[in-house]
Assembly symmetry: C2
Homo-oligomer: 300 residues x 2
């Protein structure tokens, strides 16, 4: 891993005194090329906005090891299915700016959809096997949209590294696979999930939950802890653990399971037996709101 360098006179001009917002993709790419001609390292945090403490932690992670921190805010239409929540996805640009500034952002890249997807747009990045399972079952075009927009954002922002939260585990696995497969010139860094006091993983979508759903939503975290403790206690057969997880969730009347899975940490292939480590992943609906979470399981 490269070390960030000190600002020197020949780096002048690309590090803004105050946080700047750039909405034009050509302007962003030109700036990124100028930064790349200096010694400065670019850390990148791609988001869909409506920032929370999870994003804050990614920005601070980027800040710590980069000279220039770029945050993108773009609610990406191609990763939403036709029946999904694109139109009502929560937005609050003023609060986002506050959080971004406080966490140490230098540039917010805030493009319009018609800039990112022109009328002639027709090129998609498809990661194949790893996108078919888990969230890919109920959201068949989701990861194609994620892979495509990340490719575009990486090419516009030209980061040395990009930061993602472990909460979106399959997304992280897909992006890592894509970066390797297409020899992309950056490093993917995954930071731990940030949680509310009761364990619920922070997510922009938590705002959709009714107070009663919000209470019951802790069952995702609890069932993951259950799995973790069972593995710690010596259980290695996935079927038994999955059954216990499902039973725990089913006790919550408002919860409806999409999937609960124990899988290989890289390929996400379903496991029958946990040898050294695995990942437990789950997606649970509360009404129309779909929550996801995951936990690494390690055999002691």
């Amino acid at each position: 891993m490269r070390q960030s360098r000190k600002l020197s006179p020949r780096n002048g001009g690309v590090k803004p005194k105050e946080m700047r917002i750039i909405s034009d993709s050509s302007e962003m790419q030109t700036l990124a090329n100028r930064i790349r001609e200096t010694d400065l390292l670019i850390g990148f945090v791609p988001t869909m906005g409506y920032l929370h403490e999870g994003h804050g932690s990614l920005i601070r992670g980027a800040r710590q090891q980069s000279d220039i921190v770029v945050l993108s805010i773009f609610v990406n239409p191609t990763q939403f299915g036709p029946a999904e929540d694109l139109d009502k996805y929560p937005r609050d640009m003023e609060r986002d700016k506050e959080i971004a500034r406080e966490a140490g952002t230098d540039y917010i890249f805030y493009p319009e959809a018609r800039d990112i997807y022109t009328s002639e747009f027709q090129t998609y990045v498809n990661v194949e096997k790893i996108t078919k399972s888990h969230c890919g079952v109920s959201r068949p075009t989701h990861f194609r949209g994620v892979a495509t927009v990340c490719t575009k954002l990486f090419n516009i922002v030209l980061p040395h590294w990009a930061f993602f939260g472990q909460k979106d585990y399959q997304q992280c696995a897909v992006i890592r696979r894509m970066v390797k497969d297409l020899n992309m010139n950056l490093e993917i860094i995954v930071l731990p999930t940030v949680r509310e006091a009761d364990g619920l993983a922070m997510s922009s979508r938590n705002v959709y939950l009714t107070p009663e759903e919000r209470k019951q939503a802790t069952c995702l975290y609890e069932s993951l802890q259950l799995a973790k403790n069972m593995v710690r206690a010596g259980r290695t057969d996935a079927r038994t653990i999955l059954m216990a997880m499902r039973e725990h969730i089913k006790r919550k009347p408002l919860a409806s399971i999409d999937y609960v899975s124990i899988a290989d940490t890289d390929t996400l292939q379903e496991l029958e037996t946990i040898r050294t480590e695995a990942v437990a992943l789950l997606a649970v609906y509360f009404g129309k709101t779909r929550l996801i979470d995951n936990e690494i399981l390690r055999v002691m």
Copy 2:
């Protein structure tokens, strides 16, 4: 267009005195990153080897406006269909090195297939509409392979510009579309088709032709000239021109038409009437050998 800069002391070390061959993709990318930290401009010519004067012209084009010229030689398996000529695609590395050196190459990137496509490989770049017509009809996975390998090579070589020959017109249109759609950080430069004395477009595949097929193969160029002259003489209805082109080719008993088309120069959508300009494209089989060629048609 940026101007190439003079070599300065801080650029030292990345411009080799003699042409170098690099086969490892990580080594190539690390070198490209080092070059990118200098002022030097990288010109890139991706090829499948078995170089001819057409490639020579691309290398000289790159040489003229770049400080560092990288040529890749890689017979890309993902752009060949199952019944195509991957295994017998002609190779002659010693002659390729000679031609590359004389035309002014600094680095040949010459990777192995297992380096470019590892066993876990599963990510493809799909350009959609523009790949469905013309060569995409008889070669349905061809452009997916081309787009994917070009994405990989661009990410490894990190060129400021990449050079392609107009002979592969649809390929050029697909790559341009991909570069725009995915905001790739480089410029695509298309140079004119280089031809034999009798008009046949240079191609590594010409070596497959029997002497009699070789003689009759001039019908591609001739029918394109016929089209060009008809448009010059005021003809603008595509159907009449296409009929004349087909008739000319059908006079050659060894020729079998795959397609003859008059299309929009950007989108490759079939045209009925030529308004200001169009491209005439054709693919013709001689035995198992498939030849392609094209010509821009301009209304005077």
